[in-house]
């Protein structure tokens, strides 16, 4: 067990942290609302090779794993970067897994924005996370991986999370990319990756929400002392910080499990998503509350975090229903421990 980052991983994280901090201050985040997509920033991401990170070198990528992408996605979450990251990254890697090299090449070039459906089944019935901006969306229909091209009339759904949501009612323009026994597995792996990437973005969001709350609690005084010295203010923030650290570790472990084809990977991916959704929601809620009435105003940055904490999770899945799916996974896990009071001591 080793939690140390390599020098390359450290450098990758710092590079993107600096890039996002510089390119994406809160006024850029606000300017991208309500669509939640900054085309110029997305073009910049294509330039720096965001999608290349997790693609093998012989296909023109950087040959890194999901873990490296997790490091980047946390920094993106911290700055609420208004570009589609989780679904596009997972879609790109799904194109690799299914050998769809033509569409992969165009996705890497930045000429086609390729995203992923939230679940198997016909796309027409689903709310697509990047539907308002994607050129193509990958779905699993009747056991086949299809790339559905953007129909002519797409209406962006105005939403509180400033996500580029849309429905595609016309899904006639669909190309079959792959079929066969491995396809469904590859698709569900891509959905695991989406969960982990969304989870770690929520971890980044939670980290910054906590920092905003702590900064305000250090400066703001009430009844003559800084409000951070009141335990009713400080203690829930401490709980949020601990949970956030735990959620980060869980996303790290889940990405490690996916990268190393560990059997527990789907369980860990779901666990990380459910927990990060809860952690981000609590952190943003308490942090907003620390800001008092000011936190409720559009002017205050914490409300940007509060709204996204909810929407970023909801666009993937209901965490409550995810718990039931997780139960299927854990009840199948190996080796029940022997029973008896001895287990408890």
């Amino acid at each position: 067990m080793n939690l140390r980052l390599t020098e390359e991983q450290q450098a990758l994280r710092e590079t993107f942290a600096a890039l996002f901090a510089k390119q994406c201050p809160p006024d850029v985040v606000r300017a991208a609302e309500p669509l939640g997509h900054d085309a110029a920033l997305w073009a910049r991401m294509a330039d720096v090779g965001l999608l290349h990170i997790g693609v093998p070198e012989d296909l023109g990528g950087a040959g890194a794993g999901l873990f490296e992408l997790v490091l980047v996605a946390e920094e993106a979450g911290r700055r609420l970067v208004p570009v589609p990251l989780a679904e596009t990254v997972a879609a790109t890697r799904l194109l690799v897994a299914c050998g769809a090299h033509d569409l992969l090449r165009r996705a890497l070039e930045g000429t086609r924005l390729v995203s992923l459906a939230p679940a198997p089944g016909p796309l027409a019935t689903q709310v697509l996370a990047d539907g308002a901006v994607a050129d193509a969306v990958l779905g699993l229909v009747d056991g086949r991986l299809v790339a559905v091209s953007r129909p002519a009339d797409v209406r962006a759904i105005s939403n509180m999370g400033s996500l580029p949501l849309a429905r595609w009612s016309d899904t006639a323009d669909a190309e079959v990319l792959a079929e066969g026994p491995g396809v469904a597995q590859a698709f569900s792996r891509a959905l695991c990756e989406v969960r982990v990437l969304r989870a770690v973005a929520l971890v980044g969001l939670a980290a910054e929400a906590i920092e905003l709350g702590a900064a305000y609690a250090r400066e703001r005084s009430a009844f003559g002392i800084p409000i951070g010295s009141y335990q009713a203010v400080a203690h829930p923030l401490a709980d949020a910080l601990v949970a956030k650290d735990g959620a980060q570790l869980l996303t790290w472990k889940a990405s490690w499990a996916l990268d190393s084809d560990h059997g527990d990977a789907p369980v860990l991916a779901r666990q990380s998503f459910i927990f990060a959704a809860e952690v981000a929601s609590h952190a943003a809620q308490h942090s907003l509350h620390i800001h008092g009435g000011y936190g409720f105003t559009q002017e205050c940055d914490i409300q940007l975090y509060y709204r996204r904490a909810q929407a970023w999770a909801a666009v993937v899945a209901d965490p409550g229903r995810e718990l039931l799916a997780l139960a299927d996974g854990i009840l199948l896990q190996e080796a029940m421990e022997p029973e008896g009071v001895a287990r408890g001591l």
């Binding site: 067990m1 601990v242 735990g246 472990k253 421990e337 029973e339 287990r343 408890g344 001591l345």
Partner: protein, 388 residues
């Protein structure tokens, strides 16, 4: 970054499991449940024979030369098998301070027996009015020639009735307050003037209140420098935030999962089909994983020489308490039957957890104190407790 259990950990785990199978017999387990002593002398001596009391000390000092994580795995396996490990862990808190700061003479006298599992040391820190504030110490030590005379009382001196020495915190500078003016002793518990009264807890543990009445202790049993006991306590408490290879939340989860996989409701339906059971079990699995990961992070940061905050010490016990109730809710009324009753569920393990969990958010540093430390150290918020 790698979460795989290294081969040397798997090896030591297998060794510890073989040891537990041999030495943690049903008699040992049941005796601990009946007495709550927290220590079993034959087990301690068997551990000592393998260097598994002073696990991290070098072999030439009677230890086994293990790293902190290996050591935690050994103790975790013995504990999970039902063997009491409070005695070993507590003795080592005091022994590490003695090893770091005591005179050569005292070290030579105490430490070989500690490593062999034959010398047991309990802790005399907390006082009836002290609680989380360990430095609110009123027990007095007054020098008299080459002896000291000690008067006072200590609460929660676990296994004092089984130990050889008490690692005792006293106030030796009259009128001093807080962390100054303190002296630490190793007091032999057969010294005249010591009276030990049992205090039974609801968590199947026995602890003690210990009265010190004109107890005379020779000067050579002072640990460290008289009147400067703070550094001695620090040396001992450094180990308190010790590495946990597996959280109590994990143990509770594994038992709950085993129950859910095989139990049926009164109508004969598998409980595993009940969505409310499934949802709770799934949510518990997450807290178990997170509690373990935060514990691994402590071990990792300590290896790097860092000082991790008490994050694991807060999250693990808090989730353990919360789930000890939720799991009992799932199990139903029969879950309230204790281990001694033939109707008990899974050997009474859930009843046991519910009784004992609540103390875990108190004795390793109460959750309220830990939250304040995290708020101050990691979030830069102002101190909320009065300065000493």
């Amino acid at each position: 970054m790698d979460f795989e259990e290294p081969a040397h950990i798997a090896r030591i785990r297998a060794e510890a499991e073989a040891f537990a199978a041999q030495h943690v017999t049903p008699t040992v387990v049941e005796e601990e449940l009946r007495t709550g002593d927290g220590v079993n002398r034959p087990l301690m001596e068997a551990m000592g024979a393998r260097g598994w009391v002073a696990l991290t000390w070098p072999r030439e000092e009677g230890g086994a030369g293990l790293d902190p994580f290996e050591a935690a795995v050994v103790l975790g396996v013995i504990r999970a098998a039902g063997g009491p490990t409070v005695g070993a862990g507590t003795t080592m808190l005091a022994a590490n301070a003695v090893r770091a700061l005591a005179s050569d003479d005292l070290k030579a006298r105490i430490l070989p027996g500690v490593a062999a599992g034959t010398t047991l040391i309990c802790l005399g820190f907390t006082e009836p009015e002290g609680g989380s504030d360990v430095f609110a110490c009123k027990t007095r030590a007054v020098r008299d020639g080459d002896e000291w005379v000690i008067n006072g009382q200590k609460m929660f001196t676990t296994y004092a009735h089984r130990a050889d020495y008490c690692f005792l915190l006293t106030r030796s500078v009259p009128g001093s307050t807080g962390p100054t003016g303190l002296t630490m002793f190793l007091v032999p518990l057969d010294t005249p003037g010591i009276e030990i009264q049992p205090v039974h807890t609801m968590g199947y543990e026995r602890t003690n209140i210990v009265f010190y009445n004109e107890v005379r202790v020779p000067d050579n049993l002072v640990v460290g420098v008289p009147d400067h006991g703070l550094s001695v306590i620090r040396a001992a408490l450094q180990a308190e935030q010790s590495v946990a290879p597996s959280s109590r939340t994990r143990q509770l989860y594994e038992s709950a999962r085993a129950w859910a996989a095989s139990a049926t409701d009164p109508a004969g339906r598998p409980v595993a089909a009940d969505p409310t059971v499934r949802a709770r079990l799934a949510r518990l699995s997450i807290d178990a994983e997170v509690a373990d990961l935060l514990g691994i992070r402590v071990a990792f940061l300590e290896q790097l020489g860092g000082k991790p905050g008490p994050h694991a010490a807060l999250f693990g016990p808090e989730t353990y308490v919360a789930w000890s109730k939720e799991v009992l809710d799932m199990v139903g009324p029969q879950g309230a039957a204790d281990w001694s009753d033939p109707e008990c569920v899974a050997g009474g393990v859930f009843e046991y957890h519910y009784r004992s969990a609540v103390a875990s958010t108190i004795y390793g540093g109460s959750s309220e104190v830990l939250r304040s430390l995290i708020a101050e150290q990691s979030l830069g918020l102002s101190r909320s407790r009065p300065k000493a």
